[in-house]
Every structure is written in C-alpha cells, then in structure tokens.
C-alpha cells in the first residue's frame, strides 16, 4: 500500500450513512407464489407416486412398504407444510436496496440478516434464470466478490427488467475494477 496517498482524517460517526435507516424495496411477489407452488407440487407429486405404488391393482406391495406408507406420507406432508409456512412468512421479508456505493439485502424470518455488498468490491455478476424462474418471469442476480462463492450476494425474485437494470447499474459503476 502506498503511504503517500493514504489519508487518515477523523470521521464523524454520526455523519456516516447508516444501513439500518434505509428505504428498501420488496422483491417480486411472484417469488413467493413460485416457491409455494413448487413446494406444493413436490409434496403432491411425492404423495401421488407413493400412493400409486401402494394402491396399484397389479401386485400387492411388500409388507414393510405397506407399514411405512402412512409414516412416509406423514413426513412428506409435514416437511412440505413447514416449508410452505416458512416461504409464506419469510419470502415477503426479502427486501433490497441500492445505494450509490453498495447493495443491501435484508432477509430471514428467525435470523434477520442484513448483507451489504460494496460495489467497489464486486468481481463479477451473473444473471440467473432457471426453468421455473423463466416460467414465472423471474430472475436472480448474483454478485461475486473476492470473499469466495460461499459469500455470494444474491437477490432472488427480481423481474428480468429490474435484474438487468441492476446489473447495468453495477457495471456502469465507475470504480468497478475487474483487476
């Protein structure tokens, strides 16, 4: 580091921008619908497959399977319900904000997480759209920093237009330096 350009001016703490006092925007409500539908479909699909095997007319299923059947259905339905309730409650809590210098994401039902990603530290950006997301007209923005892939900053459930806007905003940031 270059000692000549380094300055060490005192900073007034009260004057610092505060991440807590920030207007955030919710992500698209379709994200919650997509998650709820996906989980409902998974739940129903698994139940249907098991039931079809259990009650098909061609052969009698083995004894252990018959015994395990109600338990398995119970587990599937309870796991599915927990996920449905979770997404019902948690997805609307995902909110984001963009400041001049950073991106902020809030999420979490039990653990309220507030992530802040300085744009200066962004290494590259990805816009992801899985098949289901394409179907729902949603996109996901992934922002990678040098902190490694475990700490990828991800905003889910964006409209493709908004995602592209955000991407362009980050790319246009004049301080963004790929090297």
């Amino acid at each position: 580091m270059d000692p000549t350009t380094y300055t060490n001016q005192p900073v007034a703490l009260a004057a610092l921008p505060d991440i807590r006092e920030l207007e955030t925007v919710p992500i698209s409500p379709r994200y919650r619908i997509l998650n709820l539908l996906t989980w409902a479909a998974i739940m129903l699909g698994l139940c249907l497959i098991l039931s079809a095997l259990r009650f098909q007319p061609w052969f009698t299923p083995p004894e252990p399977f018959i015994l395990a059947y109600p338990v398995a259905i119970g587990i599937i339905i309870s796991v599915g319900l927990v996920n449905l309730v979770y997404h019902w409650l948690a997805d609307p809590l995902i909110r984001y904000a963009v400041r001049e210098q950073d991106l902020v994401l809030q999420r979490g039902l039990f653990f309220r997480v507030l992530v802040c990603q300085p744009i200066l530290r962004v290494q590259h950006i990805e816009l992801k759209r899985g098949p289901l997301e394409r179907l729902a007209g949603l996109a996901r923005l992934q922002v990678f920093s040098a902190g490694g892939s475990a700490h990828t900053f991800e905003v889910p459930g964006l409209t493709p237009r908004r995602a592209a806007q955000l991407r362009q905003f980050i790319l246009d940031h004049k301080e963004l330096d790929a090297r």
């Binding site: 270059d2 900073v11 921008p17 997480v113 802040c116 902190g147 700490h151």
Partner: protein, 528 residues
C-alpha cells in the same frame, strides 16, 4: 533495506531479454524428467491406494503370483512410468513473451495455458532435493482464478526462476505505483537478493517448539501413507517386546483396575511421545532453515529440509494478520503468526506450504509485535482495549444448549440412581461451561481509524487484525430473540475468509458495519 536501486521502466526492458524468449518456444532442462517421473509415480501411488483392495482380491482369485504374465506386466508398468517422464518432458514447451507466460503440455490431453503477468497472484519457487545440486527450480504461478489455471514451469535454472519472479512482481509494482517504482536488478544470487532484509529466522530449537505445540504429524503421515501397515505391525512388535500386549488386554478378564490404568497411562504416554516426535519431524521437514525477509513491498519466505520452497507475497495482498496462541503456546510464550491473503481459491490441503497463508511458526511475543508493526503500521493489536461481546452470548449457550438438556438428563439419571454416569455428565457440562465462559470472556472487538481488531479463543488467544477498507462484504445478523435483547452478530467477509463477532450490542455492530462499509467505499483502494 540496505540498498534500493531505483530504475525506470525502459531500463527494465533491457533486463527482459534474459527472461523473455521472444516467439520461440523453450524446452525445460532434462532434469525435469526426474520431476515428471516422480510426480507420475506419486499419482500412480495415490491411485493404487484405492485399487489395492481390488488388486488383492483379484490376486487371490486369479492366483496372479504364479501367473507367467505378472513379472512382464510389472516390468512394463515400470518402464512405462520411466518413459512417461521422458514423454512429458518432450511434450512440454513454454515461453515468456510480451508480459505473458505460455505453457503447452500434456500428451493425450493437450493444454495451452496463457497467463498474462497481471493475473498472476503469487510466484512460488520450489527446489526439490534432486534439483539442488544443479541449481534448478520449479516455478509455480498462481492466479486468482481456479486451481486448474495454475501454471508450473517445471525445471529452469534457479537464477532464471528468480529473474522471472522479479519480473512478474515488478509488473505488479509499476502500474500501481509509478512514482515508487523500484526494482533491484542485479545478478541474482540463489539465496537472497540485494536490498532484501531478513525479518525473521527460525532456529531448530524454535521448530522443535513448533512441532510440540502444533500438531504437524500429518505432514509425515501424508508422506508415509503407503507404509501404514508396516508401521503398525512394527509398532505392535515393538510394544510387544516391551511387555505390553494388546491382545492380552482384551483377552484377560481378571486384572485389577490399577493395572488397566497403568496400561492406559503408559500406552497414552507412548502414543503422545510418538506423536510429538513425528510432529517435530514434520515441523523440521517444512520449516527447516526458515527465513522471512522483506524486499521492498514483498515478503519472501524460504524454508524446507528436502523440498526447499520460496514463496513471495506482496505486502498489499495481506488481508488479515492473525496471531494465534494455543494453550501450550501460552505456556511457552510463543505465537503462530499468519499473514493471510486471498484464500477463496486456495486448496485447503496445502495449508502450510500455501502462499495464501504465510505462516511464521512459533515466534515470541516481542517478535510478533515487530512483525505485525511491519505488516500493519500503527496497529495496536495487543495494546487495544477490546469491547467484549454481550453476556447474552453466554446466556444463550448455557441457558439454551447446555444446561436444559443436562438438567433433564441429570434428573433422569439421579432418578434411576446411576450415580457414576450422572457424575461424568455433570463434570462434562461444567467443563464445557467453563470453556464457554472463557470464550465469552476472550471474544472482543476493537476498532480505530484504520484497523479492526478481533480477539477470540478459549484457553488460547487468537488476535486478528485487518485494515478496514479490505472488507468485501458486511453482514449483520439478528435472531428474533437477539433483536429483543438488543444484540447482533457482525460478519465481515474478507478475501481471506470471514471474521465473525457474535452478540455485539446492536449499536456497536451497526456502527462497525457502517465504518467498514464507509472506509471500503470511500477509500477507492483496491483490496489487492
């Protein structure tokens, strides 16, 4: 730093001719055949470890020992191996041209690596034992990208390797700080360069201490993997000769408890002694003749008994300084000091050797202060008043995770009158509570205009210090209960990994988050 030869860029160009070989591709020196053969052998050995069971079974089934094909096949495999070295050598070409390193290699799977100097993160120079008489070296060029993009120039004269390293690193220096451009260009001696200042040396005594305080067994164990079986047989024989028979222990039903205790104690002592010895051996193997020196803006680490390694790291690449003291280190007043840089792509297994974590093994506290002062000027890691984490941390762990289940289990045990189990459970919970209390007591954070400091540990102490602007991402986490109690966990992601401070008062967590973000965004400085 004794001498600083300041040179401008054109002058460096004259020097380029020594390294740059224009359009022509260059072959390695023939010593590389040895390297290729040994590395192919290593690969085969690693592969064989998985195949051995299958081979053993098929050997029994097909009666391979008596088959007339066994010997010729073995001979074929061995000649194939030695030939493979020659073939790899023949297929390997490289050139350094126009600020790029290009390598073409591979027999069946051809590969062309083209690495521009600016993408090279680290330059590592290795000297295996068989390279040393002829003064050859292996140059490993690391990029910030994936491990597969790593380039190895397998065998070049040591002087050339030094020259190449200097050029690559000089490139990094010149565009960033043109005013301060300084490259010492003189004939390079293999050991050290002019203008280089040795910061620290480790004597054999230090390394013995390091071996005892740190478990470096796996260095030897990893190398000795094929010999496990022989070792365990020998060990059993040796123990048997000393009158300790494991078979007897299990077989005999009627021996007094004190006999058993004695056996256990002597056995544990023997095992511990062996482990300590192995660990000292491992430490000597990696860190023998350790020197840490500084040449302008980079740190150079040289060490190794059989395989001499030289790792350079630019000062500005240091993300975090960590001074780690385990309980044994506390007793002996030693510190393991790590200079950590970008580890997001590092392979974890090469931990000690990796240039991503430059380790200064078992230095004294005074030396640590000096080295930290060098790396992070004006930092006050040891002097700072640390703001402790909230008592809620302790309450959370003891009140939710430790004591409710313990009390439940205890009452059940007492009800059933299983006193010994109850006693063991109680002691265990008390010990864990004590450790948690220590953890709570140690964990603290401090911050000044330029650095953030985190102290943690249980029996030992672990200090971390980093420059505020190097933060990559900042996260504040609060559970619902934590929000009610007014505490929050702060997570700072650096290029070297994540630093976590749990259960800080929410005002402190937010204040620190804001300061970190502000200095990262305001400084405009690159984290590299």
């Amino acid at each position: 730093m004794s001498t600083v030869n300041t040179e401008t860029r054109p002058a460096e160009g004259a020097n380029t001719s020594q390294v740059d070989n224009g359009d022509s591709w260059r072959r390695l020196s023939p010593v590389s055949i040895v390297y290729f053969t040994t590395s192919n052998l290593k690969k085969l050995a690693q592969f064989l470890i998985y195949v051995v069971p299958a081979l053993a079974v098929s050997a029994n089934v097909l009666d391979l020992q008596n088959s007339p094909y066994t010997v010729p096949v073995l001979i074929l495999v061995l000649t194939g191996l030695s030939l493979s070295g020659v073939v790899s050598y023949l297929f390997y070409r490289f050139r350094v041209h126009d600020q790029h390193v290009e390598i073409r290699d591979g027999v069946f799977h051809r590969r062309h690596v083209n690495l521009p100097f600016w993408r090279i993160q680290n330059v590592k120079i290795e000297q295996p034992l068989y390279y040393r008489p002829m003064q050859f070296a292996l140059v490993v060029l690391d990029t910030a990208g994936s491990a597969e993009e790593e380039a190895r120039i397998v065998a070049v004269p040591h002087a050339y390797a030094q020259q190449l390293r200097k050029q690559v690193l000089a490139w990094h220096q010149s565009p960033a700080t043109p005013a301060q451009h300084e490259t010492a260009v003189t004939s390079s001696t293999p050991v050290s360069e002019p203008g280089e200042e040795v910061l620290n040396r480790r004597s054999i005594g230090d390394l013995v201490i390091h071996g005892i305080t740190n478990n470096r067994v796996w260095i030897l164990l990893g190398a000795a993997a094929p010999f496990y079986d022989t070792i365990s047989t020998r060990a059993a024989e040796w123990l048997g000769a000393r009158g300790l028979q494991l078979g007897q222990l299990a077989g005999e039903q009627t021996f007094a408890w004190w006999q058993l205790t004695l056996y256990v104690i002597s056995f544990v002592t023997i095992i511990m002694a062996i482990i300590a010895l192995l660990s000292v051996g491992g430490a000597l193997l990696t860190f023998y003749d350790y020197t840490l020196s500084r040449h302008h803006d980079r740190y150079i680490r040289r060490s190794g008994l059989l395989n001499k390694q030289e790792v350079s790291m630019r000062h500005s690449r240091i993300q975090l300084v960590r001074a780690k003291q385990d309980w044994l280190d506390m007793l002996l007043k030693r510190v393991n000091l790590y200079f950590e840089q970008n580890t997001s792509t590092a392979q974890q297994h090469a931990d000690l050797m990796s240039p991503n974590k430059l380790l200064v093994p078992s230095v004294t506290v005074a030396e640590t202060r000096e080295l930290v002062e060098q790396a992070m000027p004006d930092s006050r890691m040891y002097q700072k008043e640390y703001e402790g984490i909230s008592l809620r941390y302790l309450m959370h762990w003891l009140g939710v995770w430790i004591w409710p289940p313990t009390i439940l289990a205890l009452s059940a045990l007492v009800f059933l009158q299983v006193w010994d189990a109850a006693a063991i459970l109680l002691t265990l919970s008390l010990v864990i509570s004590g450790l948690l209390w220590l953890r709570w007591w140690r964990w603290g954070v401090a911050c000044d205009k330029r650095y953030m400091y985190v102290r943690s540990g249980r029996l030992g102490v672990d200090y971390q210090c980093f420059e505020l602007y190097k933060a990559q991402q900042v996260t504040v986490v609060q559970s619902v209960l934590m929000a009610r109690a007014g505490v929050a966990t702060l997570k700072v992601v650096l290029a070297s990994g994540q630093v976590t401070v749990p259960f800080l008062p929410v005002t402190t967590a937010n204040r620190l988050a804001n300061i970190l973000l502000d200095s990262a965004e305001r400084s405009r400085k690159s984290w590299m």
